[in-house]
């Protein structure tokens, strides 16, 4: 309880610190929104030019970027500081965190307030409202619950992937390079039905990099395309749980990596 209170106070102070530079604060909100709008622009262009993407109609396809963006916005707000944490590792800030009486992971997450998450979430909520209003599905309590679970699961899965990269960066600081690529992959290929890709490539984005579980599989289950994904239906349906399991696993990996952290100078 005390830890939560401290975390809340630090977050409030971080927020005030961000407000110190008003223009930068507003621009950071704008950048969050703009990055998300880019996904919408690209998706809209593709949906306009290529109707019936992978056998999905446009209202069904929209559910994929809406789920992903909402999960991503929550990730940026709550757990996103693991993305790009390599810079903190390179600057030796982890060494400072180790000397303080607060878990290193929590200090990492409290390093600054993610202003861009405000823009991310604003656009994501707007897209989700648009996707739901265009949807022809019957939104029963079961479907709504599954969608909420999918968003949380997607957030945790994204957090797990970035945490794993940060674990590698503890040992090899240059590994942070991969986090930018991962973000790019999630943004580009996490927003469409992966069955437009060849099976081998779709399989790579399912079993190699579990990108399909963030939004594609949950949306497929919700829209009745769950049997056409190329993966077993039960596996697709369990996507939200996979996110939870992956995140817990990544935290175990984080603790192990931190125990073996030897500092940026060896």
């Amino acid at each position: 309880m005390n830890g939560m209170r401290i975390a809340w106070r630090v977050t409030r102070l971080n927020f005030r610190a961000q407000l110190e530079y008003r223009t930068e604060f507003l621009l950071m909100i704008a950048i969050g929104a703009i990055w998300q709008v880019s996904v919408i622009v690209f998706a809209t262009v593709l949906l306009t030019r290529f109707t019936g993407m992978g056998g999905w109609d446009s209202s069904e396809v929209l559910l994929i970027p809406a789920t992903r963006m909402l999960a991503h916005g929550l990730f940026v707000l709550l757990l996103g500081r693991v993305h790009g944490a390599g810079r903190q590792i390179q600057e030796g800030r982890i060494d400072i965190y180790l000397t303080r009486p607060m878990p290193v992971h929590r200090q990492l997450q409290l390093a600054f307030f993610p202003t861009n998450a405000i823009g991310d979430l604003t656009v994501a909520v707007g897209l989700m409202v648009g996707a739901l209003s265009r949807s022809r599905l019957d939104w029963t309590p079961g479907r709504i619950s599954y969608l909420i679970a999918a968003v949380i699961g997607g957030m945790l899965l994204e957090a797990a992937l970035f945490t794993a990269i940060t674990c590698a960066a503890l040992r090899f600081p240059a590994a942070d390079y991969w986090s930018r690529w991962l973000e790019e992959l999630l943004g580009t290929f996490g927003s469409y039905p992966l069955n437009v890709l060849p099976k081998a490539v779709g399989g790579l984005l399912t079993y190699g990099l579990p990108l399909a579980f963030v939004a594609y599989f949950p949306a497929a289950v919700l829209t009745g395309h769950g049997h056409d994904t190329g993966a077993p239906y039960w596996l697709a349906a369990l996507s939200p749980l996979l996110g939870v399991a992956a995140y817990l696993g990544s935290r175990v990996l984080w603790r192990w990596s931190l125990r073996h952290y030897a500092g940026v100078n060896g």
Binding site: Y21, T23, E24, L27, M28, A30, I31, I34, W35, S38, V41, F42, V45, L46, R49, F50, T51, G52, M53, G54, R87, Q90, N116, F172, A174, Y177, W178, W181, L185, T188, F189, Y192, V196, L197, P198, V201, L205
Partner: protein, 267 residues
């Protein structure tokens, strides 16, 4: 002697990359995967559609793959090298750029030239492999190839000055990460990195015509795939040259203004 100094400045980033084999391996893996994914996506999208927005399947795939390869021209991990203008401004070390016998604008240009040549080697290698593997179509004729090469060169000239303006912005704003990200986003979107501009609505294409970004990538790639015929190419080359000259003059003006803002150790 001047040539020797220029050579030494230009090779800094390439040497840094060549001495970091894990980073080069990462670049190679990322490039291969990105090319495979992008080519697969566009082939998949075209599987149920014919020519759209004036682009056939081969043209769209070639454009998208070449855009991925072209992104290597200016995508080095400069931040890891601790030599970005943003970092120098943040840590106050930009003053050293003004203490050397080499003027800062020349140092900046030489570093960028080295980076672009190093990136070009990657892009050219990737292009030849993709061409041999049939992932991208060859240019329509030798004339198309020649005009494409000229347009690519002009595009890199414009791109350097667009990126230079981002760097110069650091002299005026204490914290400008967001502005940098927004401009980089605009560069990617309006130059056709995310998707060929031909797929966008007409108003978007008209808007991008008034901005320099399309001159960096969209024009040369459109010439390569034949979406801009040779008869119209000269007009586009003139537009690229106009942006190159205009931005050169503007950034030269900004360098002079920026020099007045550099302070050492707080005073």
């Amino acid at each position: 002697m001047a040539v020797l100094h220029a050579w030494r400045a230009a090779r800094v980033t390439p040497l840094g990359e060549l001495h970091a084999p894990p980073r080069m391996t990462a670049v190679l893996v990322r490039l291969v995967v990105q090319v495979v994914l992008v080519a697969s996506l566009w082939h998949g999208l075209y599987s149920r559609t014919g020519t759209t927005a004036g682009l056939a399947e081969g043209q769209a795939v070639s454009y998208a793959v070449l855009a991925v390869l072209a992104s290597r021209l200016r995508e080095l991990d400069q931040y890891a090298g601790r030599d970005t203008v943003l970092q120098h401004m943040h840590f106050g070390t930009i003053v050293y750029w003004y203490l050397r016998p080499l003027p800062p604008q020349r140092y900046h240009a030489l570093r960028a030239l080295g980076e672009q040549l190093y990136g070009f080697a990657w892009a050219l290698g990737g292009y030849l492999v993709c061409l041999a593997a049939g992932v991208v179509d060859p240019p329509g004729s030798a004339a198309v190839a020649g005009v494409f090469a000229l347009s690519l060169l002009l595009g890199q000239w414009v791109l350097y000055h667009v990126m230079l303006m981002l760097d110069q912005l650091c002299f005026w704003t204490v914290r400008n990460n967001a502005a940098m990200l927004i401009l980089i986003f605009a560069q990617n979107l309006l130059s056709g990195v995310y998707a060929p501009l031909w797929f966008f609505p007409d108003w978007f294409i008209t808007l991008s015509g008034f901005l320099p970004f399309q001159a960096t990538l969209s024009v040369p790639l459109s010439i390569y795939i034949g979406r801009i015929p040779l008869s119209d190419a000269w007009e586009q080359l003139a537009v690229q040259a106009f942006w190159g000259v205009a931005l050169t003059l503007f950034t030269r003006f900004l360098w002079r203004r920026a020099a007045r803002r550099v302070i050492s150790q707080g005073g």
